[in-house]
Symmetry: C2
């Protein structure tokens, strides 16, 4: 890709309510823009990151033998009357009438819809378990949408629903999803904690939350320094006042007497919830009377699990966890392009040619890259854009191509190193592996 072929509207003009780093940088670097309160458009760079996330999630869900589907975003209110959940959802569920005055909702979640799909279509225990998932638009009419795409009204969610014939089978499905979620977050290169949690309006128990650890997280969690353990703060008492008085960057300094069950030290952190998995059991299959024939020829209600993951929210969480005061620093598997090849002087045809050659070399090796081939922009401006957007590496093609050399810049450390042009591929690859 070339800068001159892609729409990347970087800007300094951002709204005053953009205070979180992810909110600021995603707007400034032209990843997203807003068309209304809690409504976001994904621009080309944002769409690529979204697709990277979707692909990692899809591949891991498919590996776990879940089947991808796509449920209608507009769903009849009737489904929600059957489950009796309209009041629980409150005003967050957006209801409307069509031209014939029939009632519909913009799906905030899809338990009712997926049970309706499975009802009368899976008739026997022989066809269980089944896990159906989708990566689809959701809408929750938050009172006060804020923090950019971290808490938007329209957002992209991966929601999966498993159907089992017994508690044992449900537990197995749940465990597979727990492992799958860990694999997904590991592949994304994000630091996370798994937290035992309260199930809220979705219902069911045995639920686990997956939190991206970041200073700006909305939830305070207690995490172990040595293992993956985490717990939501609701489960610990008598510390609310102390926590409220403490700025988030000093949270870690609060001493916790208690030790983790592994013996490790516990500390407070802030977390951004990006995943939540539940054992729903027969809550919805009973409400919607969805049954199968068990091995004794008896009708039973499906035992269900549900497994949510905030796809668009992960974009923001990744930036919250990975940024500095200049901009974002993308993890290698999420970044829109792995390498930005900066032509130091855009008017220099030799530099442009060397940049193109390097791009082709990387492309052939499957390394996504973008050439900053802009002619009029100064080098400093291009470097600032590189730092703001946050590609993991830049290759600066400048005067020292005369000596057969270019400069590699590591976005995380901003350290520079000189590299022979004819060793560019191996150098880039060895950088990726450190």
């Amino acid at each position: 890709m070339r800068y001159t072929n892609i729409f990347i509207p970087t800007t300094k003009e951002i709204p005053s309510d953009a205070v979180l780093p992810s909110h600021k940088y995603l707007l400034k670097a032209g990843f997203v823009c807003s068309t209304g309160s809690g409504l976001y458009d994904y621009l080309p760079l944002g769409k690529i990151v979204l697709d990277n996330i979707k692909n990692i999630v899809k591949n891991n869900m498919d590996k776990a033998k879940a089947n991808e589907i796509s449920l209608s975003f507009v769903t009849p209110l009737k489904l929600w009357e059957q489950s009796g959940r309209i009041e629980d959802m409150g005003q967050e569920m957006l209801k409307f009438k069509d031209r014939h005055q029939n009632n519909f909702v913009l799906s905030p979640t899809n338990e009712e819809a997926v049970v309706t799909v499975v009802k009368n279509r899976i008739k026997s225990y022989k066809h269980l378990p089944v896990n159906l998932y989708q990566i689809n638009t959701k809408f929750r009419d938050e009172v006060r949408p804020r923090f950019g795409i971290l808490r938007a009204r329209e957002f992209l969610m991966k929601d999966a629903y498993s159907f089992s014939d017994s508690q044992e089978c449900l537990q197995q499905q749940f465990d597979i999803m727990e492992t799958t979620y860990k694999n997904i977050l590991n592949e994304m290169g994000l630091k996370y904690k798994v937290v035992k949690a309260d199930s809220g309006a979705i219902g069911g128990d045995g639920s686990l939350e997956f939190h991206i650890v970041a200073n700006s997280g909305e939830d305070t969690i207690v995490v172990c320094m040595d293992c993956e353990f985490g717990a939501n703060i609701e489960t610990m008492e008598d510390i609310d006042d102390k926590l409220n008085e403490t700025p988030y960057n000093e949270l870690e300094n609060i001493n916790i007497q208690q030790k983790c069950s592994c013996g490790g030290k516990l500390v407070f952190k802030k977390g951004i919830e990006v995943g939540h998995i539940f054992q729903l059991k027969d809550k919805y299959s009973k409400a919607l009377d969805a049954t199968f024939l068990d091995s004794n020829g008896k009708q039973q209600h499906f035992m269900m699990g549900c497994y949510g993951m905030g796809i668009s929210r992960i974009i923001a969480a990744a930036v919250e966890q990975n940024h500095d005061d200049k901009g974002a620093i993308w993890p290698l598997n999420l970044t829109p392009y792995k390498v930005c090849i900066i032509v130091s002087n855009g008017k220099d045809n030799t530099q442009q040619k060397v940049a193109t050659d390097i791009s082709n070399t990387l492309e052939k090796a499957g390394i996504s890259n973008i050439i900053d081939d802009r002619v009029k922009e100064r080098f400093g401006f291009k470097m600032a854009d590189f730092e703001l957007i946050g590609y993991p590496y830049a290759i600066v093609v400048g005067k020292n191509i005369a000596d057969g050399k270019v400069e590699i810049v590591d976005r995380k450390t901003l350290e520079k190193s000189i590299c022979d042009i004819d060793k560019i591929l191996e150098t880039v690859l060895s950088n990726f592996n450190t």
Copy 2:
């Protein structure tokens, strides 16, 4: 993939209004199901076809240097007040209020939204042309939704919008899109005609429609037997009565005196519109006052084109064009799986093993396949499912594995041929190429 790992709820129970082949077969074969009037869920097989279509469209749009974005599905009504198009859209545009009593719509199309994205973000002719596209949900509140996913209320559309600094540049963008649409439909293996058309509510002129030729099409078009020419019937006079009297399968027999400009014979056909491209010129950039600085330093309104393609509709159109009285017959690049490996007797472990080996061989060669490994289902039942679902080829693993042989069934002709197991890959590939 294996039948025992995927949710394919084939059924005989379909609603009485399902009269079109695509509507019937997609429901019967478990590709989609309906949750309300004009609302459809895509089940695993339907989702795979949808993804195949999306991928072909994306690859070709990217090749044409268009940039993928994703606009908010819920958009503020305010945008439509600015363009003055609320009345034109009529009741098809679904409007609603959020919890704060602000007005929104479910996007039926996105000219207003995309102009808002570009406005003040592309400031100079130097950054033109730009073509932004998305593959995203749309909603049109049809009075009488019908024909299944061919005319659903919620549907998936590819919509692209080009921005140019002159009529010449717009014409170039338009021509690139015309070529791209032909490439897309060719890659999908669909027979189509390009038809000069009227622009309707979208506005602009110089518009072209892309029709999939099929008996059940809603539009009557005049097409040339020798070239790609087609014309919408509105452009020919004095033939309405005759056409209305003629059943669609006899349309081709009506004699047309006029010849095509290429000298070819013209005939009447039915067409399903799957694409429509327009030269909007400055209609929306003027209405929303979106300008750029031209090379003389003067503010000019963008010259726009817009390019729609019905993604979910193509699934139905493909079946309308490719089916027989047993079921669908998928084109090779759209089919959920290219080959279905049928284990004739599911209880026979040797047959199961041979099927698995064949599946692995095909998989390694990148040929998607599904094993019908069901244990209890009889062979005739499995063949009927193969014919209904419409995978292009079946490989029947039966008794003659004792002689090292299997049977290959061509879905289109239903012809059978015997093949050596150790030559299976080359035989399948040679079938693909004929």
